[in-house]
Symmetry: C5
Subunit: 323 residues, 5 copies
Amino acid sequence: MITTVCLDSVSKEFTDKIPSTNIGEMCLDENKIVWADVADPTSEDFTNLAAEFNFHHLSIEDCRKEHQRPKVEEYPGYYFIVLYEAELTGEHDHLELRELNIFLGANYLVTVHSRPIRAIKTAERLWHEWTDRAEHGAGLLAYLLMDAIVDDYMPLLDILSERMDELEDQIFGEFQPAALEEIFRIKKQLLYLRRSITPLRDVFNTLLRREQPLFARATHVYFQDIFDHIIRVADTIDTLRDMLGSTMDAYLSVQGNRMNMIMKRLTSISTILMSVTLIAGIYGMNFQHMPELGWKYGYIFALLSMVGVGLLLYIYLKKVKWL
Amino acid sequence: MITTVCLDSVSKEFTDKIPSTNIGEMCLDENKIVWADVADPTSEDFTNLAAEFNFHHLSIEDCRKEHQRPKVEEYPGYYFIVLYEAELTGEHDHLELRELNIFLGANYLVTVHSRPIRAIKTAERLWHEWTDRAEHGAGLLAYLLMDAIVDDYMPLLDILSERMDELEDQIFGEFQPAALEEIFRIKKQLLYLRRSITPLRDVFNTLLRREQPLFARATHVYFQDIFDHIIRVADTIDTLRDMLGSTMDAYLSVQGNRMNMIMKRLTSISTILMSVTLIAGIYGMNFQHMPELGWKYGYIFALLSMVGVGLLLYIYLKKVKWL
Amino acid sequence: MITTVCLDSVSKEFTDKIPSTNIGEMCLDENKIVWADVADPTSEDFTNLAAEFNFHHLSIEDCRKEHQRPKVEEYPGYYFIVLYEAELTGEHDHLELRELNIFLGANYLVTVHSRPIRAIKTAERLWHEWTDRAEHGAGLLAYLLMDAIVDDYMPLLDILSERMDELEDQIFGEFQPAALEEIFRIKKQLLYLRRSITPLRDVFNTLLRREQPLFARATHVYFQDIFDHIIRVADTIDTLRDMLGSTMDAYLSVQGNRMNMIMKRLTSISTILMSVTLIAGIYGMNFQHMPELGWKYGYIFALLSMVGVGLLLYIYLKKVKWL
Amino acid sequence: MITTVCLDSVSKEFTDKIPSTNIGEMCLDENKIVWADVADPTSEDFTNLAAEFNFHHLSIEDCRKEHQRPKVEEYPGYYFIVLYEAELTGEHDHLELRELNIFLGANYLVTVHSRPIRAIKTAERLWHEWTDRAEHGAGLLAYLLMDAIVDDYMPLLDILSERMDELEDQIFGEFQPAALEEIFRIKKQLLYLRRSITPLRDVFNTLLRREQPLFARATHVYFQDIFDHIIRVADTIDTLRDMLGSTMDAYLSVQGNRMNMIMKRLTSISTILMSVTLIAGIYGMNFQHMPELGWKYGYIFALLSMVGVGLLLYIYLKKVKWL
Amino acid sequence: MITTVCLDSVSKEFTDKIPSTNIGEMCLDENKIVWADVADPTSEDFTNLAAEFNFHHLSIEDCRKEHQRPKVEEYPGYYFIVLYEAELTGEHDHLELRELNIFLGANYLVTVHSRPIRAIKTAERLWHEWTDRAEHGAGLLAYLLMDAIVDDYMPLLDILSERMDELEDQIFGEFQPAALEEIFRIKKQLLYLRRSITPLRDVFNTLLRREQPLFARATHVYFQDIFDHIIRVADTIDTLRDMLGSTMDAYLSVQGNRMNMIMKRLTSISTILMSVTLIAGIYGMNFQHMPELGWKYGYIFALLSMVGVGLLLYIYLKKVKWL
């Protein structure tokens, strides 16, 4: 399904929706800024796009195949951009990464995606509110869209960061085995997030240093802003990964500490019980000449010895912190 | 065994198979595009190649020796390319890497390999189907061949990725010792895969930034596409390696957890059994004055004490989660 | 709240405080050096700033949003700089990072911060004392401010370094479990400190290699000095991180050593007690023909055997360092 | 001891051995290609070299001191190259690294070494067999020598690789403690090998990108070939290191697994023996009213109970895989 | 205290010591090469230096503050260099790093240090012995000084390397707990050494690639030599760090192995003693019908059973290597 919005940069008015077969024609007029959004594209839509915009078949192929890595490729007359919108969905905060393909020309923007992209709504609203939108061409539109996507990573990372803080508290407090599984789930999510944002860093870096005939200098500043946000997101992801590694180390150390604690306790309990049992064993011997056996309070004496030895050991072991 | 295909870029027709001793001659005609495939080359084949195409003896030497690292080398008039086709074969998914040597000139492509390469079939088929094949020279042929090889890495990595997901589930669920061996097998396979793809990344990066007299700008886009796929494969391998590392960490932590569990259980069982045995020991003492010994239900009382102490300890230890 | 200081570089005198709505006007006069400090900015302040100095709305936006990554951005006519002042506060040495936004023009400096920044006081004082302050323009002011902030990192790192030395001593001496938590707190603080200083390293590196029309060569040396201090801080942070990692390794090894010690002790104690109990068990057997049972000093003999066996084992185990 | 070989590039004949004091003179004739090999150099030899060839005293100093890092240094009129030949010697495959210093001029090659270098023999033989040796000057000679040295690393790495495969099998099979020591020995050998080859990678990379007045373009290809082999060796070393790291991880995990196994077994055996002993303890009590004691088959009954309880526990523990 | 040495490059004679207030004057004469050594500088000395040589106040500030990172900074007319001399002192081989500040002009060298620097003596001696010292200006002096400092790192690293070899032997042989503390001490020393040498690597690399108006080409070779030695030291430090890491890994593995050994022994001893005790327990039962109890050699039989069971278990456990 192709939806189009078209802005006349002279009259500064939005023109009516245009049929999808006339888009190419419309784009020839440099005073029009055209946004064509292709949701859940059919094979026919791809053929249309290729025909209307004269896109290189390799970029069309990339759209069709999906699961591309995030990238910005320069083709004659347009950029082909792949981005991923990230969202934590469902009860268990499953990480969903939704692919968005962008064809960015001087005065047109074509967005292709098989799943609904929230940022498209945001970008459209902001574009309608933007005062000097007619002066920046399709570049501004691309900025609003990419910025909405990249900025959405930050609150998501804040959620993961809070989760990690809770996990850390659990580790030093009372530990729940489920926390371990949670740590690894977050680790994996950070890996996927990183994979979907860091390749853009290098590409934007290269793009911003190059001569860019497609966009004016004033628009260039906006791309620098996206680059800044991408770095911020990438840095935050790296910091979270470092902290998660540190949390894992903490967990392993705490685990080692607990093992030491348990072993000391085992040794202590064994020592106490074995010592006491030894006394019982001694008075269970069958010697004919064992004076204590004949004592009136021999039994009481034996029991008291047992309690005494047990208590003494207990106190000693408590004192050296083995119990 | 040398097989040849020859395309006339003027008549746009395939010419008949040509005898291997005439290939060099044929290549002098710039309107011909020649593909010579040398399977399981004999010493004579190498001599032939060197004579017909005037290849530098160092590149011929590399072909002959095999086990080269993946690379792209520039020689006067042609590129010498080494690639590896990857496949998981056999019941235990053994990773097989098959070396392919490519000599790429402006209007000829020579492929040398001692084991059958699947991608050659694919590339040949696609070339015959390609509409504007006559315009791109031997570059298109090289693209189709390399692309077929590089793209084959992705499904293979998907298989490894699925296997890893299964292993991760096993780690947090019921663990099979064989899983550990499996983890290390995958780790090794990823190491080999990485070694056979990442060197190409840097080489292609260098090549694409250079002035390239051999191929037209239109063909250049195809090489950029291969570069993009190589990065994608390399990134995926790195991500899988990261995840495998994370799985190993998880495994070690889970192992530590289990050890803690076992030690607690050992302590608990020892404590219970020793305590109960102590009671038996007490009533096994031979004091003359032990009132319980004379009781009618003394024996029952002792047994009940044992059960009681055992149960109390059991309940307590269950409550503090040591059992 | 906007506070302003204004220096006349001709008369070399400080002029009176100027109303915030005249700052822009004042800055047009190239002989004035203006410092406007905006503490706890209101929405109105931001509008004022944008209007008076004609700042790009993207940089105003960054100020407003806060939590930016440390950076230096070049806008037409001014630099936009984000820095963090670091302080250990409170009883538990909580690390506080206070954001400072700087707009640096050729002859003006605008500082924006929502929390009080100590370095502002320091920089102001040093500026008033500086002899050739009129010759360096706003660049000197920026240097004094940034240098005060960056230099404050060093004493803070010294505190952390001392803390780490104490922790290390604890690890090889008598270990307190709280030390582990302390290690991880420092690790986290170093992570935050690193994140707030290292991005500046790369940016300054780039800036210093570029042609810089805004400032004279004589001022350039001061920025090189800040760069040098940033590297020093960043290097120290990295060294501390390495040493903390090393301390963690030491901790884990010491823990392992202790575990070995405990296990040996457990084995030793079990062995001694079990051996002694065995003797008691033997003489608790009910055979009719056990000569020792009838001996006069059989009991004494048995007790002495127990003590003997226990002592021999004890001495042996002490000798092999298991006890 | 100085040995010389001299090739006349016009007559293409080898001239007779020349006295060591005439070498410098000989080298002035551009049509001669001179190779002077200085084995086990005396102080006098160094003085001679410096005088004959006019070598910079810093490079002579490096030769004299030995234990230089592998490097290629450019001096006016010649390159000074340090390489290490690697060999596994003796029964325990001790790694021997033999230093070779090369002075490479346009038409002369001086090799200095205190221990015999096998590659010198190989290079000499190949040079005598080479057909167009007169056209490449001393560069070819350097290529043959360096290539012989670098290529010798590969079979050595193959040996280490095989050893590692055996070790890995041992780890998952029946483990011999000696294997651990072997792993660390290989690790150290790889460290030394890496140290003796990787510095060359960067140097060659720099050299090959530079304008090189000393050698013709045709000779340049040979240096590229050495560079390629150096990368191959360096990559292989890195891969082996990665695999060794992975083997170590495997070893630690297997060790952890075994510990878990042992602990389970300990718990199981203790449980069985303690339970059976408890029964004996019960019937060792001295109550007057214990009906079983009077039973005719009481003893048999007790023994059978013991066997029964032991067997039941054994079967149960076998089933849950603790034994 | 300021000491001066002055060489006249025309007469090639050393002139008499000059009063510290005339140094600046002397340096104006390009034919003089002046070395001023400022040991344990007072505040007055710094004022003098600034006045005489016209040093930038930032570099004077760096001297005054001390604890700078190693660096080479370019100021108009001179280089400001910070280096550290390393020495192992005292009984426990405490690592001492002594800061040396160098101001290097075309024909003067000013060295500032608060602690005695051994290399100064060495450099002075070598300078006096050097034949063509008059031709190289102050650059040669700087070379001799820096080279003496950098070369002193190597024997120090050799000492650490030998210590590490001993530690490694201890780990696989009989382990002393003190070895662990030693490992961490060396680790820390390597960290400090690395921090005091590696920053120079990058700086020298940059310096050597730049156009250098201060020194002649002939002197340039000497700086390249220092650079080479710095790399050698840095590489050796990295190798030692790698090896120490490997030693730590070995230690942890050996520790794990020992733990396994101890646990097996504990299990074995428990098993033997418990089994033998069980027999005693059985014959301690009070059944009326226990035929063995009435046997004449019942007691002997029981003791022999105990010894037999104990021996059988012992032999079995020895055989499976658990004891």
